[in-house]
């Protein structure tokens, strides 16, 4: 495989403690402790810069604004996404783990429920991330979009299961217990 012509890198600039917003037309994108930090790519090497670029583009193309927060005290996707949803003015959030596992959540749902879950991180590519952004924005507008089609690959297990476990353990090590969510500004630069 040849490298893409321009490699984008993502840094998350800390703004301050994450606040709950009141504007109803926003989606909060909540990321895990190691996202764009200890890790820079998903389990299948999609750069985090590309993940965020696509998710934000998917939200914006629906005329909805996006806000990013970094969650520090857990690596549990449902908890991360639900934290985001409770901060979100619309009550809608997208939760992201470093390895790519993604969830669309809503404030009023139980934490272990969700609107859409994308559990197979190796099958998530740029196109899927854009559609996830778009769907989350549509939920924020009060619409009922068709769920993003889930993919399935029975050979994902032999190839990726152990690496996923390793990445999960590494993500766990980046948890900062007791640290509150931080609002961050995504800065994408070309290397």
């Amino acid at each position: 495989m040849t490298a893409p012509a321009a490699v984008r890198t993502l840094t998350l600039k800390e703004i301050g403690p994450a606040q709950r917003a009141s504007r109803p037309d926003e989606v909060v994108v909540a990321v895990s402790p190691a996202f764009a930090d200890t890790f820079t790519r998903t389990i299948v090497d999609v750069p985090h810069a590309e993940v965020i670029r696509q998710v934000l583009a998917g939200i914006e193309e629906q005329g909805v604004t996006a806000r990013m927060v970094k969650v520090w005290d857990t690596a549990d996707l449902a908890a991360i996404a639900h934290t985001g949803a409770r901060l979100s003015g619309s009550g809608i959030s997208i939760g992201l783990l470093s390895r790519g596992t993604t969830m669309i959540h809503q404030r009023d749902l139980p934490r272990l429920s969700n609107l859409e879950l994308f559990p197979q991180s190796p099958l998530l590519d740029a196109e899927v991330f854009r559609r996830i952004g778009s769907n989350a924005a549509q939920y924020a507008k009060g619409e009922s979009p068709a769920p993003v089609p889930t993919r399935n690959d029975q050979m994902a297990r032999p190839r990726w299961q152990a690496k996923a476990a390793l990445l999960h353990l590494k993500e766990f090590e980046c948890i900062v217990a007791g640290r509150r969510p931080v609002e961050v500004e995504p800065v994408i630069s070309r290397a």
Partner: protein
Amino acid sequence: MTATQPRHSRRTEILEDRPVNLDGFVEEWPEKGLVAMESDFDPAPSVRVEDARIVELDGRARADFDFMDAFIADHAIDVGTTEASMAVPSDEIARMLINPTVSRQDVLAVTRGLTPAKILDVVKLMNVVEIMQGMQKMRARRTPANQGHSTSARDNPLQVAVDAAEGALRGFAELETTLGVLRYAPLVAIALQIGAQVGRGGVLTQCALEEATELELGMRGITAYAETISIYGTESVFVDGDDTPWSKSFLASAYASRGIKMRFTSGTGSEVQMGNAEGKSMLYLEIRCVLMAKGAGVQGLQNGSISCIGVPGAMPGGIRAVAAENLVASMVDLECASGNDQSFSHSAMRRTARMMPQLLPGTDFVCSGYSGVPNADNMFAGSNFDTDDYDDWNTIQRDLQVDGGLRHIREDEILQVRNKAARALQALFAELDLPRITDEEVEAATYANGSEDYPERDVLEDLKGAQSVMDSGITGLDLVTALERTGFHDVAENLLTVLRQRVSGDLLQTSAILTDDFVPLSAINDANDYAGPGTGYRLQGERWEQLKKLRHVTSAENPETEVS
């Protein structure tokens, strides 16, 4: 890009393209439990008994027990023999396991007093050949068997029925299904049950679902056993799933109260996969699961990593650990449905090597789910073997003269049984006012391979029909009546006979299956009596004649023809 790529050897390029290099491999990280069975962080064996109560287990005092320790200490270990058993050196116990002159009962007399760390200490001494030798003797049922999956990517009940019928005829003693769309479950569970009884009377069926619905289908007699009741090796993973050893035991007793066969499920890798291995090796945690199952009083366990096989599969010695966990289930006198039931490797050689430690010595169920449908239709996320592998499996049985539970069937027999299962389900659905199965569908089902070979069904109508099964309270007995009324007397008779088993409770015995004559075959009346060469289960007589048959065998009498 102007930089030139470094030149590779031609051989490297060819090896890079081999399927095995699509598999994932990971280094060990013992501190976090990412290690198969050799870890410095596992506890050392110890036990102390006071007032007929275990007060110390593997270096931990009772005051510090987590709920797994407490459950195992109070329910799984024989407090009367534990101190004597623990005093036997581990290498001596390992030698007892492989020594044919030491009987299975003599081994059990020792193993029922062992702690998890001691059992680990024993099996760590054994290489894979010794593990197989141990399994050959310690397997509970004398006669090995196999279990199949019958599912459909479209949840088409007709496909599930006909593939169950074919699978039953090919030899599976148990068949299980699960769903893509869970609401389809009642129709698919009925289809599985009917198809299985057409293929071979006495085959047991189950439908893997969330626990409440699964139990309800069992109690209604729409399924005959249950298997997917998951248990874990650490308290934290248990609690994450809102469960405890006691809640699982309660569920087990609900099944037992109706005479329904039931086993738990566990496997290496699940705890580390969920990030809560508490720094222990995969096999140590799995041994805790095995003893928890023992303590709960269930008759058996499905283990062999199961849906986490990608984790031990990626670790050094991981498949040895998987073989060892199967042996541990058998050496504490549980039925062992020994994995080989999930997609494991891109490499056909690795897939075959992975099952040798179960196929060669024989286990109670060599696969706890060989895919009786093409893997693309396998809603358990793919198995290590599927319908494409039937002829390979049959040939390996014949080559090594081992019984893996299957056999070759001629095409005319397959077409006949598939057609009959399709017609039986068609008649049953019509009789019960369930969504119609057309003649065109019956024809397609007779000749089909996968779900794409069938006309599409009206899913919404099917889901309404499924709901009506739940609402109207249809039971297994209603299915028997409907089959009888529509002229499928023999199928009705088969199903009724299976249902009657739950009254006798014989299927609650360890390793119970039903023979063609509906005789329960279990560790009670078919106890493994292996005692060295020439003893125990031998593939011979009528069964060996069956297994000599393959799709293409040149006739000795007339070499210009083939026999099959």
